[in-house]
Subunit: 414 residues, 2 copies
Amino acid sequence: MALVVKKFGGTSVGSTERIGAVADKLKASRDAGDDIVVVVSAMSGETNRLTALAEGVHPSPPARELDVLLSTGEQVTIALLTMALEARGCPARCYTGAQVCILTDSAFSKARIQEIDDETIRNDLGLGRVVVVAGFQGVDETGAITTLGRGGSDTTAVALAAALGADECQIYTDVDGVYTTDPRVVPEARRLDRITVDEMLELASLGSKVLQIRAVEFAGKYKVPLRVLSSFEEGPGTLITYEEEGMEEPLISGIAFNRDEAKVAVLGVSDKPGIAGSILGPVADANIEVDMIIQNIGHHGLTDFTFTVHKRDYETTLDLVRRNAERLGAREVAGDDKIVKISLVGVGMRSHAGVASTMFKTLSDEGINIQMISTSEIKISVVVDEKYLELGVRALHKAFELAEAQPVAEEECR
Amino acid sequence: MALVVKKFGGTSVGSTERIGAVADKLKASRDAGDDIVVVVSAMSGETNRLTALAEGVHPSPPARELDVLLSTGEQVTIALLTMALEARGCPARCYTGAQVCILTDSAFSKARIQEIDDETIRNDLGLGRVVVVAGFQGVDETGAITTLGRGGSDTTAVALAAALGADECQIYTDVDGVYTTDPRVVPEARRLDRITVDEMLELASLGSKVLQIRAVEFAGKYKVPLRVLSSFEEGPGTLITYEEEGMEEPLISGIAFNRDEAKVAVLGVSDKPGIAGSILGPVADANIEVDMIIQNIGHHGLTDFTFTVHKRDYETTLDLVRRNAERLGAREVAGDDKIVKISLVGVGMRSHAGVASTMFKTLSDEGINIQMISTSEIKISVVVDEKYLELGVRALHKAFELAEAQPVAEEECR
């Protein structure tokens, strides 16, 4: 008998039929003896419908009232799911964020959870009830309704699991787990049974948007065992774990890629302290986010400085940097938005040499030129011409044998 | 500078355009110097939409969860109206029933208000804000969301006006006031400037469904000046007042009628104690509401017993009474569902003789036979053949000069 927090997103509860299917699934778990807390999102389409109403009365709807409005979406779902459970003879109770005191700060539309009062929920569990809680919403200390921003229901589920000391937090989505890479690019891509939270963070931020980053960070902070699984198919999904648990760590967990970046290079600029700040200062002032930043070792007092931004900011950034180039005495400003970033992620590489060289050799064997390289403890990213995306990802997926059972880093095999 | 509670129903806030129009109206009142609290219902159609969703997951949706679901309707409206006010530069704040602690009992779907905490509202008014409150909903002492039942927004408005000691509670509807009778039957029907709460109760319960009875009772209990007026047209509407105010009382305020009743007569039953209970007991046990009840003086130990029920219960009632008749020794059980009840209402008749005789003579002059008569302090009701409805109401409207300036009872003219 385990205590499990389950979260179902908008697609999973998108119609009364689907809500019925979720209730069937929950009843089966309850009958199997589990204590269950369920977190649900608004029915798919509902948030857009409400946002459109708001835009009908205010050109730029104020965040405080928008939170009052949008939070009704989840309130509708909790009522319907609880009714569906009761229709199946499964005792249940539902609560809004405010009713179970999900206390947040007052940053309307992007509030952060500070505290949860678990007493009501524990009482209901003790009485054998399934407890249904509205995701995405909370209440500030003045009693005002807040929301956690899009995808905040994942965070609600993780926070509840942490507060209740749940055995597992299960996030039901429209995919059946986390894959070694995008199966649309590599048909042999394999579902991972396990992945560490650090790897998940790298994969999520690189584009494999299965879970909200904030929810994963939250889970990591409170060591909540987190599982991603499908609402529509049976299967164990992917368990997100923590290294402290002493599990076997695979060398490489997955390959992420991102087509949304463009690079800007400032060539032949004088190699003196403060040059990076001079180049990136105006970019930051324009609220443009910079991803990779690379500066080569200087020759003859000159250096090359390259960075990447989102494609939508490419033209603006190029303009900004060009206007700045003369003052910096740069020889040339070049740009390219026909690039792709490919990243190898795996906690195993932390204590295992040779991953980078295998990666570079694999790409080179395919005739793929590497334009930029950036590394972190558990990730190696390269920028290549966008036309090599599929070729590069497939070659790396094969070279690291990701379609097979996961290779494990040596020191973990002792 | 007055403190006014205004209530707008579902039709008045049925679209973003109409919400904008309500915001314009509120801003004008605010600019004129009034302190304003607004109570709103769900947008028209929303409650039906939500009810249909509930019926999609449960054959008979449980009341507790139905309240959680339906209360989202008003929450959407308060957010939108507050946004619309802010878009017009009018500072405003919105609150759900729970947020301003509209404490009710736990009778889900038909809860009664017990207490309101007015502190938050007074603070906001002090800061120059329009305060927008969700009608129809409250919270019980365990924190569960409750609703007051259909039309409960009127009650919310009156309760808030009572708690705040408001100068007036204004109910905006799709009619411009209370009329002497239904203008569809009598084109000369006149809007009343004033009506007493007792008369309003008689008129409301008799079919002139401008206001919810419970709201009017509540207003009477706390002596809240209540005004009914139109959302769509300018005009003073009708003020509902209390006799204690020493106002001039008209002899007759209005004529109500009800086509929804049917009569059942038990003829020649023995006139002994307990006979009424023996006849009506089985009817009450079947949860059938009885309206008029008349028992004639007995002759030779026998009496006739007649009562009316709603037309939808007519056949069931007739069956019940017939099955019972033999045991009671009744000579005959007769019924008629082709009847109409016409009622004359006016506090003036309380101290003024001759109203009944004028009424009976007027009907008799038109050749209308009276089947049943029932009187209360401020009302005389007669049952006649339904084909005489229009003729009877028009004749009475003329006889009591209701299209003219209101006649005033003599003793009030001193």
